[in-house]
């Protein structure tokens, strides 16, 4: 089997990709990707821009269909498993002037339970509970536009939690957030890590070391590395993310993964 697999993991499989390939037009964005994510695992996805990280997320959300190979989540197709996935997009994507409150946004996590008219009381309770988990219960009625970057990102995490997910997917949660704010976000994610399976796309090395069990390097193909990374790698990593990215990219393209410890 592919070195990417960790078959001895004691918990059930949450997501499984087997020989997965995908292309938008001609070149393959992802090629022969095989991995398993087990319940309770916390995986960080890294890789160069354009390496296929976002494509992998979209495939896992069922927004794209795999060209070849299979991808199952909780034993179902991604589109069928959607209701069990909590998705946290980048906060920067949103119209900051859109007139909604933090609670309004978190309630969107309960959209699948909404018929016509208003959200039920039970939905509101779940949403408030989710806001408490990210320590923003006091800000529930504040407009989205008045929240800081870190608070906005935490609101989006709360929205994903309101889905009561089995798997949490996060897309660069610390992008465009200043360092002082990031600490709170880190704390939130560290707490969540104990409770659910997490897949986190990030460039942020603090985040990787705080939240990740292992790392998936995505650059068309996927390679899995366990954490903590070896001292030499860590030194390289802390000397600058760009260099690491560049370094990993070069090594991956040359088929050399000696810098990272394989499972």
């Amino acid at each position: 089997m592919n070195p990417v697999e960790s078959s001895e993991y004691p918990t059930p499989v949450v997501a499984e990709a087997c020989g997965l390939s995908f292309r938008y037009q001609k070149p393959l964005v992802l090629e022969d990707v095989t991995f398993r994510i087990h319940e309770g695992e916390s995986l960080c996805v890294i890789g160069p821009n354009g390496g296929g990280k976002s494509t992998l997320l979209k495939l896992m959300l069922g927004l794209l269909e795999p060209g070849r190979g299979s991808l199952t989540i909780l034993g179902k197709s991604p589109a069928q498993a959607r209701c069990n996935i909590g998705y946290v997009p980048q906060a920067l994507r949103f119209d900051p002037l859109y007139p909604v409150s933090a609670l309004d946004i978190v309630l969107m996590g309960r959209l699948d339970r909404l018929g016509v008219g208003r959200y039920s009381k039970a939905c509101r309770e779940v949403a408030m509970n989710a806001l408490e988990q990210v320590a923003l219960a006091d800000s529930s009625s504040r407009p989205f536009s008045n929240l800081s970057g870190g608070q906005r990102q935490r609101v989006l995490i709360a929205r994903a939690l309101a889905c009561e997910p089995k798997l949490l997917l996060l897309d660069e949660p610390t992008a465009n957030i200043d360092l002082s704010v990031e600490a709170q976000l880190l704390e939130t994610l560290t707490r969540l890590r104990e409770k659910m399976t997490i897949l986190l796309v990030t460039h942020d090395l603090d985040l990787i070391s705080a939240v990740g069990d292992s790392v998936l390097c995505v650059n068309r193909r996927i390679h899995r590395h366990s954490l903590p990374l070896s001292g030499e790698v860590v030194k390289e990593i802390y000397s600058g993310i760009n260099r690491v990215e560049h370094d990993l990219r070069t090594r991956h393209s040359q088929g050399d993964h000696s810098a990272c410890q394989h499972d």
Binding site: L61, L63, R82, C83, I85, Y87, P89, R93, F94, D95, L97, Y98, P99, V100, S101, D104, I105, L107, M108, G109, R110, L111, D112, L114, V116, G117, R118, Y119, P143, F144, S145, N146, R159, C163
Partner: protein
């Protein structure tokens, strides 16, 4: 002002205009807030102008083939819905630049309207009254139609408020939660088209557009909650429609342009007030 109240009681046309203005204030406040916050005012503008094509076509085919049921407002209604669906479809598929399609539909609609009128047999209808409005053509059945469609629009918004907001804010996430985002976006455009048709007979295309956008734009400068923006916009539109009608009657100036100028000036003045932060 007493002259105006006398006129409301004695002249049915004035009464009908006042009623149509009051009813449409509710739909415009609600729909306009959704349109302004979702930043699709230009789509609303294209839909409004394309109505002229439908109005012209209805005159032409109605007269040429003696189709009594094909009223100008029905033509406008169909044209508005059709252009809403075309723009919506293009906007969702993104195979062509959205703004290009919007400009094309805008220009095509108006040009088609004028050509149709040119070839319409018999006495030429006055297109200007559809562009700038003419309260003298308002009838009791217009008021009834405005009322019925207005209730429909408000009911749709009340029933699907949270889904519309979710789709406007983040259509991708809404889709992931099992909502048909595309259908709700098209619903929003269709609601916009219907509300515009309501007012065009009374107020004309330009005024309808101004009343849809300006009160909601003014309201959105002072609140960050959508339902508050809706209520403020409804209130402002009520004031413009009733006060504007009364004052234009009193001053003996055309109602439509007078109301547009008032709404635009208030919107302009709102920039002098500091935007609320908390």
């Amino acid at each position: 002002m007493t002259e105006f109240f006398d006129a409301v009681q004695t002249i049915p046309l004035i009464r009908y205009s006042l009623l149509a203005g009051i009813i449409s204030a509710f739909t415009f406040g609600a729909v306009g807030s959704l349109v302004v916050t979702r930043r699709i005012g230009y789509i609303a503008a294209a839909i409004a102008h394309s109505m002229l094509g439908g109005i012209g076509a209805a005159f032409y085919f109605g007269r040429t083939y003696d189709l009594d049921w094909l009223t100008p407002m029905l033509g406008g209604f169909l044209a508005a819905l059709l252009s809403a669906l075309i723009i919506g479809w293009v906007s969702l598929r993104a195979s062509e630049r959205e703004d290009t399609i919007i400009s094309a539909i805008w220009a095509f609609g108006m040009a088609a309207g004028i050509l149709f009128i040119h070839y319409t047999p018999g006495q030429k209808p006055n297109l200007e009254s559809y562009i700038f409005g003419n309260i003298l053509v308002t009838s009791g059945s217009d008021v009834t139609a405005t009322f019925a469609l207005g209730i429909l629009v408000l009911l749709l918004i009340a029933l699907f408020y949270h889904k519309l907001v979710a789709v406007c804010f983040d259509e991708e996430f809404a889709r992931l939660r099992g909502i048909n985002s595309n259908a709700y976006f098209l619903l929003l455009l269709a609601i916009t088209a219907v509300s515009m048709v309501l007012m065009v007979r009374v107020a004309g295309i330009i005024l309808s557009l101004a009343l849809l956008i300006l009160p909601a734009a003014t309201a959105s400068r002072f609140s960050r909650r959508l339902w508050v923006i809706m209520l403020v916009a409804i209130g402002l539109t009520l004031i413009y429609n009733t006060g504007g009608l009364a004052m234009s009657f009193q001053l003996n100036v055309p109602t439509g342009p007078f109301v547009v100028i008032c709404a635009a000036v208030v919107y302009g003045l709102s920039f002098l007030v500091k935007r609320k932060r908390a």
